[in-house]
């Protein structure tokens, strides 16, 4: 492999996407805008999903759109966490300051969502600890409405 003439070019364009979220997530975001958390419940196994889903993968049961909605609180349990310096975005990855990323099970739900843990000392973080949602001042009906979780 002794090649002399290799050209390396950059791609010049950017493709933009807009992902339709569907009616289930639309309802979730409507509630998020009002600083409320909703999930939906599988009619068969009664598992509660946050964010809501059309299908319960465990039972392969379709959850009707109109029914089985569950109002949930903004508190949860920390199931797992990790601390990383890396910030990865669509544009690329870079090192920023340490952030604690937690996997939080909202009370009353059976799955977990992943958000930052705010205002916590890394040494104090323990799995199983109680956390609470810190809302953004301005909510827009998007995942960023939840700023992160703080110690409850």
């Amino acid at each position: 492999m002794t090649e002399q003439n290799v050209v390396t070019n950059k791609g010049m364009v950017r493709a933009e996407f807009n992902f339709w979220v569907g009616k289930y997530m639309d309802k979730f975001y409507d509630n998020l805008e009002n600083k409320k958390i909703v999930g939906n419940k599988c009619p068969k196994c009664s598992d509660v999903f946050v964010p809501p889903r059309q299908v319960c993968g465990k039972c392969n049961e379709t959850i009707p759109l109109e029914q089985n909605w569950v109002d949930l609180t903004d508190t949860g349990t920390l199931k797992n966490y990790t601390i990383t310096k890396w910030k990865i975005t669509e544009r690329g990855s870079r090192k920023v300051k340490d952030s604690i990323i937690g996997m939080v099970q909202i009370d009353g739900s059976n799955t977990a969502i992943i958000y930052k843990l705010l205002d916590v000392d890394p040494a104090d973080v323990k799995t199983g600890m109680k956390v609470k949602i810190e809302w953004n001042d301005k909510t827009k009906g998007e995942p960023g409405d939840i700023k992160g979780f703080v110690k409850a």
């Binding site: 996407f17 890396w86 990865i88 977990a112």
Partner: protein
């Protein structure tokens, strides 16, 4: 299942930055595989590629690879998963009786694309992708913590895996030079930069450039092509749910089921396996997967003697930590297993193996897994 033989293979030395044209890489890889058993272009009846549009920066990433991959006027297809899945598709094509020689190639060059961002494109775009907190790095951190907390395995135990793999890599001439380190210690691993606590940088299979190709043929043809074919005795694959919150990350159910499917097909159990080539994205994943396969009890994989001359050698080639060329890594595991079975692993040969397993995976925390049971053929 009829016998299908792996008759030829090739992969070039991995490198963090192979400064080499893409088509030249593909050509050399496929030509190398054909040359390893003196076959010609016209012997190829089907070609399966393993590339990803987001890793190559182009839509239909296999469209321009037709000629360099030897697919011109051959039955071509692309599996957009790890190379090991492409090998499964090649295997199916051979088993159907429609084809006599399948070329399976895969690989990419992370030096040319942002690997981490490309991984982000895999996340749920309606919820997780806008926040960009679930990615290949944090997923590894979650998985390691879940495993450690559930079974009380210490970070040292996991670092030992990284040490073993990096030492093995030093003996593997084709490994990524950055991963080769004969003098590495557990302390070095634990003290390296934190990638995503508790995963440190040296526990992580960093992406590097590389491509790999294998040739598959039915029993009759395989015996004509080579004296030392390696038979695929069984294959199994399985997929876990996507959301990390839905899964118990301390184990790998999909690998358990994939292994069951493959072992049942081959008519063996995990005890009959002489050594394993496991695709591990992180050091702890080797333990989790080894337990899922049944090489050890849950939470006890760290007690195995998995050195090259140990009871059950795992990743004598160094595994994915020795060089993780996205979409080729699974194929490389197969190739390394074949090399061992043929007794050609110079410098890191396992003593007289008969049955091996090789695995591939795709997705966060090994969401989708595939496992091959390979058996030594010929004399």
């Amino acid at each position: 299942m009829d016998k299908v033989g792996i008759v030829g293979y090739y992969y070039m030395k991995m490198s963090p930055d192979l400064i080499y044209g893409r088509y030249n890489l593909i050509f050399e890889t496929v030509r190398g595989a054909l040359d390893s058993v003196n076959l010609k272009k016209k012997d190829i009846t089907t070609v399966i590629s393993a590339t990803n549009d987001y890793y190559d920066g182009r839509t239909i990433s296999n469209a321009y690879c037709v000629e360099p991959a030897g697919a011109y006027l051959a039955d071509e297809s692309k599996a957009e998963m790890d190379g090991a899945f492409a090998a499964q598709y090649g295997l199916m094509r051979i088993l159907s009786g429609n084809h006599k020689l399948a070329v399976v190639w895969g690989g990419s060059t992370p030096s040319c694309y942002p690997y981490d961002s490309a991984q982000l494109y895999q996340t749920d775009p309606t919820f997780e992708r806008p926040i960009a907190l679930v990615n290949n790095i944090t997923a590894g951190g979650f998985q390691m913590r879940a495993y450690m907390e559930k079974y009380g395995v210490s970070a040292e135990d996991i670092a030992k895996v990284a040490v073993k793999n990096r030492k093995n890599a030093a003996k593997n001439p084709l490994a990524n030079p950055e991963a080769q380190n004969a003098n590495i210690t557990v302390d070095d691993v634990l003290k390296s930069d934190i990638l995503s606590d508790p995963v440190t940088e040296l526990m992580y299979a960093a992406p590097c450039d590389g491509l790999a190709a294998i040739l598959l043929a039915p029993e009759k043809q395989a015996l004509k092509i080579t004296d030392e074919p390696v038979w695929i005795k069984g294959v199994g694959s399985n997929q876990d749910p996507y959301y990390l919150g839905d899964r118990d990350l301390s184990e790998c159910k999909s690998m358990e089921m994939a292994a069951k499917m493959a072992f049942d097909g081959a008519g063996i159990t995990a005890k009959d396996v002489d050594f394993a080539e496991i695709f591990e994205q992180y050091a702890h994943e080797e333990l989790i997967l080894a337990e899922a396969i049944g090489l050890a009890e849950k939470g006890k994989a760290n007690e195995l003697n998995s050195e090259i001359n140990g009871d059950i050698p795992i990743n004598p080639s160094g595994g994915a930590i020795a060089g993780h060329a996205p979409f080729a890594t699974g194929l490389m595991r197969i190739i390394e297993a074949v090399k061992q079975l043929q007794g050609k692993a110079d410098g890191y040969q396992v003593k007289d193996p008969k049955v091996a397993i090789a695995t591939g995976q795709i997705g966060f925390c090994a969401q989708n897994n595939i496992l091959y049971v390979l058996e030594k053929g010929g004399n």
